[in-house]
């Protein structure tokens, strides 16, 4: 019987960072439904090794993430595996929102809205000042629906998640998890209404 080590509520629009040891199991809960949880991982011992969206897609020959997906690093090693998923499908190609990309996607006056990049940078620099923007790459967007079409298109669509849906992962090595509970108000990735999410951690 595994022991609950930690339970945290991540408020809407907030960053979060934690260490997960090899063998531990983490659950992310979409408490109220359709909340994008922008998530990234580092090898805790060597943060130059980090989550790689393209290596994850290439290894499983599939663009969506769900139960059984191995989250692969830039060194082609498995960081974590998704072991349970009541939502069914997660994105890893849409990246994180940023003030700069907001100006491109929506309007120049959206520059000063809160963003996942601001959360990522703040959490990383508070954790260890050796981190910088160079350490970021395309992340996972749990509970976000970004379908790709056969003619080459990509869209941000209404979510397919719902209240209480969750995803569970088991770590294959000691990792750092970096989260931004997405504050985006310009597209349906958080249902135009960012809400809190739950982080739970169990021992091996």
């Amino acid at each position: 019987m595994s022991t609950l080590l930690r339970q945290e509520t991540i408020r809407a629009g907030d960053p979060f960072m934690a260490r997960i040891d090899a063998g531990q199991r983490v659950r992310l809960v979409d408490t109220e439904g359709n909340e994008a949880i922008d998530t990234f991982f580092f090898n805790a011992e060597d943060p130059r090794e980090r989550y790689s969206a393209v290596d994850t897609v290439r290894r499983q020959r599939k663009v969506y993430l769900t139960t059984g997906t191995e989250l692969v690093s830039n060194e082609d090693r498995t960081l974590l595996t998704i072991v349970d998923d009541t939502c069914g499908r997660h994105d890893t190609l849409g990246g994180a929102c940023a003030s700069e990309s907001n100006t491109v996607r929506y309007a120049h006056d959206r520059k000063f809205m809160h963003s996942c990049r601001d959360n990522f940078l703040l959490a990383l620099l508070n954790w260890n000042e050796d981190f910088s923007k160079r350490d970021l790459g395309p992340n996972i967007n749990f509970f976000m629906n970004v379908p790709l079409s056969a003619d080459g298109g990509l869209r941000f669509e209404e979510g397919i998640s719902g209240p209480g849906k969750y995803v569970e992962l088991v770590a294959h090595m000691d990792v750092l998890i970096l989260i931004s509970n997405c504050p985006q108000l310009n597209n349906p990735c958080s249902g135009f209404n960012p809400t809190p999410v739950e982080f739970l951690l169990w021992d091996a």
């Binding site: 790689s52 290439r58 020959r61 990246g95 700069e100 491109v104 996607r105 910088s132």
Partner: protein, 246 residues
């Protein structure tokens, strides 16, 4: 673009790596002579190299997962680094990354330098690192690359496969620099390419002067997102050396 007008020219053998500084207004024409080639590409703002090609921002700004005529390669700072001003190919991959040594050996067999001297089977990851290292960059800067001359189809369930459309001998693409851009290239095979024969065939890389971007430019006018992206690139140059021009 007549090839006799190239200001710089290079023939890059399959598997190798190369870099060039492409200043604003110059363009790089890549040609896949054999049709079996792949060009992995990374791009950095040469004036501030923490700014770099961002796959996710490129895709979501243009609602695409393929690159073709009219698309731009966005940096993580909301500016186009390179714009695809000409393209005979039609669908360049963005979502598969590159190969490493183990993948190359698994697909093509062991053929290292000791066995094959300079005919050895090179991989994209090592080639990118060798080139990034020359410019003071490293592992942190090896982000997801674009793959020119490789088409990756996606089905309704999200499954991906390398398409036969990748084989187009003589295909070319023209990439115009919208900032001063450090371009890093690897001609290692695409990660979904099947063995057992390692590709042969050179990539031709020629640089020409493309000039000012006209208001009617196909990349700039492709969508409102790109209009704003080009405005962001212009803002980067809003404070020229020596003060504003009279």
């Amino acid at each position: 673009m007549p090839s006799n007008a190239f200001l710089l020219e290079e023939r890059i053998p399959a598997g190798c790596h190369h870099a060039l500084l492409l200043k604003r207004g110059y363009a790089l024409r890549l040609t896949d002579l054999s049709g079996d080639g792949n060009v992995g590409l990374l791009a950095f703002n040469a004036d501030e190299r923490s700014e770099r090609y961002n796959m996710a921002d490129t895709l979501k700004a243009q609602h695409t997962h393929k690159l073709a005529l009219g698309n731009v390669l966005y940096s993580d700072m909301g500016r186009p680094l390179l714009s695809i001003m000409g393209d005979s190919f039609g669908w360049h991959d963005t979502i598969c990354g590159t190969t490493n040594a183990a993948m190359i050996e698994a697909t093509y067999g062991l053929n290292d330098f000791q066995l094959a001297r300079n005919g050895y089977y090179r991989n994209g990851r090592d080639g990118f690192l060798m080139e990034l290292g020359r410019w003071g960059l490293g592992r942190r800067d090896l982000v997801p690359n674009a793959n020119f001359f490789s088409t990756v189809a996606v089905d309704d369930e999200g499954n991906i496969a390398l398409s036969d459309a990748s084989y187009q001998p003589g295909a070319w693409v023209e990439l115009r620099a919208e900032l001063n851009v450090l371009v890093i290239l690897s001609t290692a095979p695409h990660p979904l390419r099947e063995g057992p024969t390692y590709p042969e065939g050179d990539i031709e890389a020629g640089v020409f002067w493309a000039g000012e971007v006209p208001a009617s430019d196909v990349c700039r006018t492709a969508c409102g997102e790109n209009q704003r992206g080009f405005e962001n690139a212009e803002a980067w140059f809003a404070l020229p050396d020596g003060g504003p021009k009279a």
